[in-house]
């Protein structure tokens, strides 16, 4: 069992609150049936991983879950949540891309179909439509190459890049931007109860 990432107290609280709010919003879309967060008090082996090199430090995703209905039915997702009120997220996003490369490459049993970056503030506006394209993924891998690639391969690390994995990242990563008000712009509690009650009565499971 790996130990979860443990930031400082305040950051931890911010992270936990952000993950909870993101999870609630996802639940409120009506397109998620199962999820949990890495801050919960049960083992979360499918959210926690380790860098392969440079000390093998742990990293994790904030939320894991499963979509429901339509083209997303029964497809899994993981999400990283940043309850930030500023755009200074680029560095964190690069780390997220590098972590995702490691997860897809080395922990394929846990690999979900969708990997979400959920934030409360836009960032890198000039490259907004290319945030997770191949070039940016390679750039992220370069920044974190000591963690991703073996020490004796760092001189020619680009030759070690698995472009199949890079392609998967470009296809699987989404970015979702929320706002405090937008979180409330979902179906009401009473409507949700009717929906859930109907699904339960149908016995769909």
């Amino acid at each position: 069992m790996y130990a979860p990432v443990m930031p400082g107290e305040d950051l931890h609280k911010l992270g936990e609150d952000g993950a909870r709010r993101a999870k609630e919003w996802l639940d409120a879309t009506g397109r998620v049936t199962r999820s949990w967060t890495v801050y919960d008090n049960i083992p979360t082996p499918l959210l926690e991983f380790h860098w392969p090199h440079d000390g093998g430090k742990p990293f994790s995703y904030d939320i894991g879950g499963m979509f429901d209905g339509g083209e997303l039915d029964l497809q899994r997702f993981m999400a990283e949540c940043k309850k930030y009120s500023h755009p200074n997220q680029g560095g964190h996003f690069d780390k997220f891309l590098a972590q995702t490369y490691v997860m897809l490459k080395h922990y394929h049993y846990a690999a979900p179909e969708h990997i979400l970056w959920m934030t409360w503030h836009p960032f890198r506006q000039t490259n907004w439509n290319k945030l997770s394209d191949q070039a940016h993924v390679i750039s992220a891998l370069k920044k974190h190459k000591e963690r991703v690639f073996p020490p004796d391969g760092l001189g020619n690390w680009k030759a070690l890049v698995d472009f199949d994995i890079v392609k998967q990242i470009t296809q699987r990563v989404w970015v979702i931007v929320l706002s405090d008000r937008q979180e409330k712009l979902v179906i009401s509690d009473s409507q949700r109860k009717v929906l859930a009650s109907h699904r339960i009565d149908e016995g769909r499971s």
Binding site: E24, A28, T33, R34, D68, K193, A196, I200, S205
Partner: protein, 438 residues
Amino acid sequence: MTGFDELTEGYKQDAIRALVGADGTAEVHSTEYFNHTFAPDLVLRWGKKKERYVYLRTTTNPAYLIEDASRVDAASSIVMPLAEVSGKAYDGYEDKRTLISGLPSFRFLAEAGAQRPVVGLASRLLLQGGHGLLSTDTTASFGRSVDDGFEAAQQGASDATSRALHEARDLLDQSGIEQVSDFLEAVWVGSGAPRSDFPGASTASPVMSDDALAVLLDSVEIHDYSFWRRVGSRLTLDQLVTRRWDASNVNFQRLINANLDRLRARRARVTAADSAPVETLRWFARDGFLGVRMEGAEILFSDMAFDAFPDGRDSTMTLNALRLRASRFDFGASTIATRADNRRIDFSATDDSSVLDEGDRLIDGAVDVLSATLRTNPEMIVNLQSSSLRGNTGAKFEVRYLVENAAAMLFASNESDQDRLLELSRYIGQLAANTAEQ
């Protein structure tokens, strides 16, 4: 199934096992949701009248759980963290209508209830109508309290009985409070203590709840017939047969034997069974019938129509044979229906005499008797073709009289077996007489 599916299903199955262990009467339905903000993971149902949604939670953060509890339908919901909850962190939980209790609490209830039937009662009532925050310690304390209350009520001791009632009022809904009170009051009164001294509000209900009765019968052996006589004062046949009771349950035997003069049924039928000759009565309840095991057969008692009974055996006998039985077992008949060749002829007495008198030569003793209307009050009609006993219209009979007359007319073709049945009839009569005096 993916690893994620297996993990979430594993948690749900753990929860289901604990819930079913805590209350085996609940039907548990698993939904497609897990740890969802707005939709329940499980639905508990008790028949068509009661339902409770269970929201599993992977967090034990007190603020989050209180917030979740405020979002759901209070009284009909349970918020169940998968890990233990600690009481100290929940000072902000004022509403207390929703039950917040961790999986470890329900596991505890399942284990403790399996060992002590009275704790099992407390466990079921918590699941069906408990509210507030329950840590494992609180749950254990409540189970112990109700168990101690049971012991105390048997002694007519008010302090521990009162404590159990107080905790029930704190943790249960109105139905649960009444069931605990009802149960402890029945034990209190059954033990001989005055009802007026019972420390709770008397339910004054004519019957004990089914659950309370089941706990009482499954609890420690209580030998005192007077206890069961007093408990039986509030029971009906319908209540006794709502669940299955095996002939090996000694409390059930004592309860029936102590109340043979009180239990009444509209109909009885003798059905074939693989049972050895018995020296005493072995009572059971099955499929909505009260029953007693006899010589290679069972007698079933119920208010249901005969359509609902299993088929009875053909006990048709000649008039001569019936006359011999009437003489041995001392019964008479005002009317008999007979069959000779392809004719059916009914004979009735126009006075108080019995058509089974041996001196009556109007009827050929070789004819088959199909049925007889006995000179009992009210009149009992015995159909020998189907081994059935009933009254006219909706008359009810004390179970003991149904047994006595069935034994006299529908069993045993040889003398030694009849001797044994005669002794059994006398035993039944004596039993009823003894307990009626108390």
